[in-house]
């Protein structure tokens, strides 16, 4: 499955511990992604996968641990170094996060405006090229509010790849889309990796999509990594929680009577 992946790690996370207020969200996570690889981060709601993505993007500062992107620790970087690093990163957010006050074309050109000194015509042509890649040609003059859910995700993807980044992060590509559009997006992700040899990290809880695009899958559960392996390894895993996730089984936890009472009354028993 891995076509041009090398053995070089372009993303390395070591002992990542993070907190939200007083609650610990990630409990010392280690994982790595190789160049040209599509890594899918999977897990149920509240497993910490969106949190992990935020830290990979450098949007929050972790409690401890290090996050190396392209060999450099982003937790120790100065603002200027981080600014340069961002030119190598593209992100497509779950809701698209297109700027509502700009047209689709302006949204896609924004990274170019900020990072390059190209003239306007060149930028326009480049943004049209990326719109062609995501099958949205001719939509550059529309406002984001005039687009459908699938189109917004594709436009967001076009903005994410406008700088031809080495690392592409994609949050929930198929959430809230109909199966056909979701499948198209999966194809698009595979094509991007093949055409541009990007390293792609996808966060999702859609099983079909994950199995289709992933080279390796990392399964997160309650702030810990349950396993990290190829699609087949994950499918054949005998871990009960992974089984539940794959077979859509609801959680069946043994009720601790004391803890249950304590929760109900709000007092220590």
């Amino acid at each position: 499955m891995i076509t041009e992946a090398s053995t070089e790690n372009v993303i390395e996370v070591e002992n990542l511990v993070t907190h939200y207020g007083d609650t610990q969200i990630l409990n010392g996570i280690n994982f790595s992604v190789k160049r040209g690889e599509i890594m899918v981060i999977m897990g149920g709601s509240g497993s910490g996968k969106s949190t992990l993505l935020r830290y990979l993007l450098g949007l929050n500062t972790p409690t401890s641990g290090c996050i190396k992107l392209l060999g450099k620790d982003i937790t120790q970087m100065s603002t200027n170094e981080m600014h340069d690093m961002r030119k190598n990163m593209g992100v497509a957010f779950q809701g698209g996060a297109l700027f509502g006050s700009m047209t689709v074309g302006e949204n896609i050109q924004l990274p170019l405006c900020e990072h390059t000194r190209l003239d306007e015509n060149t930028m326009r042509i480049m943004s049209r090229m990326k719109l062609e890649v995501v099958n949205l040609a001719g939509f550059e003059d529309l406002m984001p509010s005039q687009l459908s859910g699938g189109m917004i995700k594709r436009a967001a993807l076009a903005r994410a790849i406008i700088m031809d980044p080495k690392l592409l992060f994609f949050d929930e590509p198929s959430a809230g889309l109909d199966p056909v559009v979701a499948a198209e997006l999966d194809e698009l992700i595979l094509r991007l990796r093949d055409a541009m040899n990007m390293t792609i990290v996808v966060v999702t809880h859609e099983l079909d999509s994950a199995f289709k695009i992933a080279d390796r899958i990392t399964v997160l559960d309650q702030g810990d990594i349950l396993m990290c392996g190829t699609v087949d390894e994950v499918r054949n895993s005998d871990n009960e929680r992974i089984h539940n996730l794959l077979n859509r089984k609801p959680k069946t936890e043994v009720v601790d009577v004391d803890a249950y009472l304590q929760r109900l009354t709000g007092h220590g028993v």
Binding site: L57, G58, K87, M89, F99, R159
Partner: protein, 263 residues
């Protein structure tokens, strides 16, 4: 009892935390304005211009109406009160000084806080909620540089400009009513008004308006960035932003007036 103290302590910590946040915001915005060019992220003149039009130019008609009305209101009250002492002609001095030193800046401050402060909070709050602020950051655009710094400059240009328009309109409002009541031409009234006020009176109003501008920008932006909890959160933050801006403006005005009248 213990509960009250815990609450009080928590509130105090929250207030100090928010103050710190607001000062950092101001410091960063000024930092980007001065040093942005060296960090390859200069504040774009285009954005400043755009904000100036939105906050300032579009507020001119309503500013004219409000200040004109206040001037006229002062004339009505002034004439009514001064009549008791037979000193109606002093109404010119009263209106000229109170409009330039006080009312124009205050009315414009409240107008802009309600009109633009709320929209700034709603806009930035919605952007926070829809991850647009995160998107800016991952593109490599500092939200404070991109959103806050142009607003700060625009507001500091707009508020004094609107205040000057307000000064003139306030006096004109007074002039029209007074000229009708006292058989005086509008030109004579305005001439007398300009003879009464000096640069210091106008400067007092302008200095206040700059302080109000900074208050509105900091309060509205900090509330916008701290939005959480969806549409309801945006609504709450917007209300909070307007209430806080107007309150701070009135309190700051009182403190300013206290010191400025003693110089």
């Amino acid at each position: 009892m213990k509960n009250i103290f815990t609450q009080l302590g928590k509130k105090t910590v929250d207030v100090i935390e928010e103050l710190g946040y607001v000062f950092m915001l101001f410091y960063e915005a000024v930092g980007w304005l001065l040093l942005g060019k060296f960090r390859h992220q200069s504040v774009r003149l285009r954005h400043v211009f755009h904000e100036t039009v939105q906050i300032g130019v579009q507020a001119v008609p309503i500013a004219i109406i409000l200040c004109f009305s206040v001037g006229m209101m002062l004339a009505i009250q002034g004439l009514e009160t001064l009549e008791r002492y037979g000193a109606q002609s002093q109404v010119v001095t009263g209106i000229a000084l109170s409009v330039t030193r006080e009312f124009s800046a205050l009315i414009i401050g409240i107008l802009v806080a309600g009109r633009s402060g709320s929209s700034i909070t709603a806009r930035i709050g919605t952007m926070t909620e829809s991850q647009e602020i995160d998107a800016l950051q991952v593109i490599g655009i500092q939200p404070v540089r991109y959103l806050a710094a142009p607003l700060l400059v625009a507001m500091i240009i707009v508020m004094p400009s609107l205040t000057i328009i307000g000064d003139l309109m306030g006096m004109l409002g007074g002039a029209i009513y007074t000229s009708y009541e006292l058989n005086m031409t509008v030109a004579t009234y305005m001439e007398r008004s300009f003879a009464v006020i000096d640069v210091y009176d106008v400067m007092q109003g302008l200095m206040k308006s700059i302080v109000f501008a900074i208050i509105i920008v900091l309060v509205s932006i900090s509330n916008g960035f701290q939005v959480s909890g969806g549409a309801e959160g945006v609504g709450k933050a917007t209300t909070r932003s307007v209430v806080l801006s107007v309150s701070f403006i009135v309190i700051a005005d009182m403190i300013f007036t206290f010191f400025l009248t003693r110089i």
